[in-house]
Symmetry: D2
């Protein structure tokens, strides 16, 4: 259950409620969302307990929840959450706009960044992606440019005015990544790196939370719960394919999970058709499918020199392919009643 306190509830009032719960064997975790103090427990309380708590001083309302979800549930917030990213909210997830993030899998150099960013901006992406810290299966593979990569990303952010998202892989890096980017990406391998989730939640930056490659929908939402419980309601979920027996595609893109997650949570959900399929020729069809089944946006790998990419080049679209995809995407997005926003940087791209 969630106990939401009144706006100016005192510390003593909070402690008093916490004590009532403790007496009934319920351990409450406290959090603050939108300046509202809350107490959250794993178990539901009995009706008697709920009404006892409701009467306590300083309590605004008590939400008794059925499933394991708390802050991410539709019962906590019925309407869709719109997550705005960038200094003036240049990119928005969860509203009527269908938001496309694009860029290279890994930041590999200054020229590459200029070239790819120009291309994706020209084609209509409203946000830029690029990895500076790359989690790689082998310690002998390219691990990303690290801080130097962050700086190159920040340069593009300044130049184009578009928000950037980049992955953070360990709690110790959260602070510097939050400083140089507009949104923190938590990768599939770190979906249950709970300390990282908590740090990202405390950073104040919106978080892009990829689904673990063998996570259930419930586990995915519970991971978002860690971020929200740390006080950060700006979480965007990203489906990126799950492991199944079939290796014809790199992973099995689970679009039913997008529709099901949208039903269970008020948080926005986007789709990564690049890492899930691992095949450029499937990125287009899966992007259109994502747009029509209720996803709020896409995260796409684009490369202007894919053959020489240091990381996952095989799945990236060329600039031309990405442009063609954006053209095909427009009528589908409109057919389901949404719009492809016009990027404010489209003009900047000529600069």
């Amino acid at each position: 259950m969630i106990v939401a306190m009144r706006p100016r509830a005192t510390r003593e009032q909070l402690d008093y409620v916490s004590g009532i719960l403790r007496d009934q064997g319920l351990i409450a975790v406290s959090s603050t969302m939108d300046d509202i103090a809350m107490l959250i427990t794993e178990q539901c309380g009995t009706p008697e307990l709920v009404s006892a708590v409701e009467k306590a001083a300083g309590v605004d309302r008590v939400i008794a929840l059925s499933g394991p979800q708390r802050l991410t549930s539709r019962e906590f917030r019925a309407e869709d959450t719109v997550v705005k990213v960038g200094p003036s909210g240049e990119a928005a997830f969860g509203g009527t706009e269908f938001t496309v993030i694009a860029g290279p899998c890994a930041v590999e150099g200054r020229d590459q960044m200029f070239s790819v960013v120009d291309a994706v901006v020209a084609a209509g992406a409203v946000m830029v992606r690029g990895g500076a810290f790359k989690p790689r299966s082998s310690p002998y593979s390219f691990q990303g440019m690290g801080l130097a990569g962050l700086a190159l990303l920040a340069e593009q952010r300044k130049r184009t005015g578009l928000p950037v998202v980049t992955e953070v892989v360990t709690p110790g890096d959260v602070e510097c990544v939050a400083e140089e980017s507009d949104m923190l990406q938590i990768g599939t391998r770190n979906m249950q790196n709970f300390e990282l989730l908590r740090e990202a939640g405390a950073s104040g930056r919106p978080v892009l939370l990829k689904r673990g490659m063998s996570a259930t929908i419930e586990e995915w939402l519970m991971a978002a719960e860690y971020v929200m419980q740390a006080g950060n309601g700006d979480v965007v979920l990203c489906e990126r394919g799950i492991r199944s027996y079939d290796r014809s595609t790199r992973f099995t893109l689970d679009l039913s999970a997008v529709a099901e997650a949208k039903r269970l949570t008020h948080l926005p959900v986007i789709v990564d058709p690049s890492h899930s399929t691992g095949r450029p020729h499937l990125v287009g069809p899966m992007s259109l499918a994502a747009a029509s089944c209720g996803a709020d946006g896409l995260l796409i790998d684009v490369h202007t020199d894919a053959r020489n990419a240091l990381c996952d080049g095989a799945q990236a679209l060329t600039a031309q392919q990405f442009g063609a995809l954006m053209d095909r995407l427009k009528p589908v997005v409109e057919a389901v009643g949404r719009t492809l926003p016009v990027t404010p940087a489209r003009s900047l791209a000529q600069v």
Copy 2:
């Protein structure tokens, strides 16, 4: 490799080529498609063998194929195959039309059939589904009405003029099912029931081949190869969800497999959003997603009294839900450059 003979090649010419192949250790299976005799081998031949065969009397051309696919491959036939179903080809799969089949999971009675068929025809379905023989995990569950069910299905076929598809579960039933319906459905549990595939192939009826719930795309295509090798090129593939670790949905609908299968084969591919998701609220989103990622049609469960359904009622759409879906489907289908055909039976429905 495939050796296609000339239209009037003699039996002797065929045997001679077969002998050349045998001498090189290649076992050839013979088949006839569109009145053309063919010899098909599992292994590719050497370039020398290919040119020796090409010179033999009666040989039209030799197709040396790289992968395991033969008759289903794009190398054998580059352009999309259009499969027409019904006495005058009332329903077509694989062309510009997006074809929706709808009806009850199981035929349960005369009233039910009138009620459901009226509803799906009114909403725009161009073909009717309904199971008379139901493969059920438990021998104690309702196993379908059998022959009586077939008769009820045939009655609707006659009344509405719409083609019907129904499942056949064992080789001994192929003949009677082929007589009473327009298309034979091979279910997920029988995708590798090879004797059934051969019989269905020999029946002359178009075949709707569902993907095995743990079949790879290659295995699915090889199953279609069994049907085609028996002389029947009218195969429509149907993705219906695969088994993954995640049971939030009944199966995991694998839409990437639709796009990938369309790349590998010239055969049409449709999607069953009902059995894959097992949840009515996911049927809509997944239908739109299927339409936009390249599928050629849908197979949807509709029930007018789902609560009392004897089989899988939980996932069926109501008539109203199905109608609403058809309305939402139209703009998406058109956004990807296809059309929803107007059923000739729409008028009949008022009869």
Copy 3:
């Protein structure tokens, strides 16, 4: 629930009980096991119904079962069933003996059969396997020798006096396969070929039922239920690996399922370490593991000329490897309190 009638209950008594059940909306399937007539329903009855049925004339006892299992459940029969195979019960599954079946994957010729059978008999196998009808993913692969293969198998059966097991793939073949062999194997692709299960059940021969490659334990037991419901209680289950995301091994051998199945059912359970792992070097370790976790026997591929095998040669043990395995198996089998039976044919092998 299961209603077991008294030994000499009349047809009228059976119909009367069936009527009581029907009045309460329960459809009863009838079966006969050990000359006892039974009525079996999918749903449990209410306590009132149970006591009404118990009082009816001719009724011996009513077994109200909780799960979906009926005849295969430990609640129906608490003690382990011992399935005897061969004219004089030469091989037994489910008792104190640990029973090893070995032979080639496919029957390929007379010399091969003599050579392999001599080898496995010399090493201590008490039963011979060999496929005459091979279900193959591709229609262009070797499909087995068919009837000629059956004859070669029957020849070895006569020569050695050892029982043989061979696969049957379609209902129409059950009669001839039952005539030429001692046990019918239902393969993984046919675990839910319900017509085949019924025919095999009606044949009177013991049935070796492989687990479907993506079947749950419950589905596997329900498949056995089809065989038993057709009147045949002599079913041996065989775990043969399931499909998982990891393709380092051909399939993932699920030994927990063996222990779990043994808990849920009274039927014997054996393990196929050859087809599951697909790697000769894993057959040994997995055989020992199977023996120690409660399996009742093994089904092993042995070939004396694996390189030239027409089917799955890559996974077969050589005669020498099989002999070494039997030597390592003995102390493990004894460590868990069982014995490796001495084959009566061991002496025959010198003939």
Copy 4:
């Protein structure tokens, strides 16, 4: 490839070799194992490059490896590595002894620790487990006692003289966990938390590396490669079940992976039958199976008051069940030619 330098090779010699590699486009990572400096590259070098490097001053030998594995491969070290844990190597993994670690899933209090540790020591465990930091799917679940839990574990370590292993979940905790325990456990959710792997590798403590719940064998070994590349060769792998479609057991214990991993790597491999099966009645059979298929030990949950356990109590064995298991384990371990070591603390247990 791996370039192993001579014992007293200079920094200049190392840099020179590194330069040769760089000129050929190979990025080398440096590591030190057993005081031997090494350079490791992802790609194999050409034969020409290998012989050029072999001739360079200070180079001892060059190991050209075929697969992606480097330090974990049997090609790097053919014989089994024996990992000794505890101040005087009280527990050893990978030699002739079969080593059983047991204890509670989570440290929950002082009384609990005394009670459980007494029980497992009396039954013959040679090492104690207990979690102080618990990674939990829900932020509202019990997260472990943290530092207080570590202290309780250290108390038992001192009292019994037995080594203890405990999980570390984030890089910042490695130092304090390494101080209070003898072995660091990396859990399934952190198998690809690469920063944590590196920190654990640098800690000097032996590492128990659980397999990710959807990791391939190769990915598991590559995770071990991260630890070894950080200079720590004392890695013990632990199979703990993978996610499959079948949820009859909590996870699917993949014992083939144990045998396969033992073939691919010289590192010891143990099995966790508790978390994989999630069912007490399966822990026994799977422990015996693990012992007979080549595993080097077990990691078992034991609880003396499972009903009130704060974490995963459902799967823990009682003291009595654990004692009975150890008795059944002995003959199986001996049947495969190994021994169950007598714990030096057995006597202490009476204290």
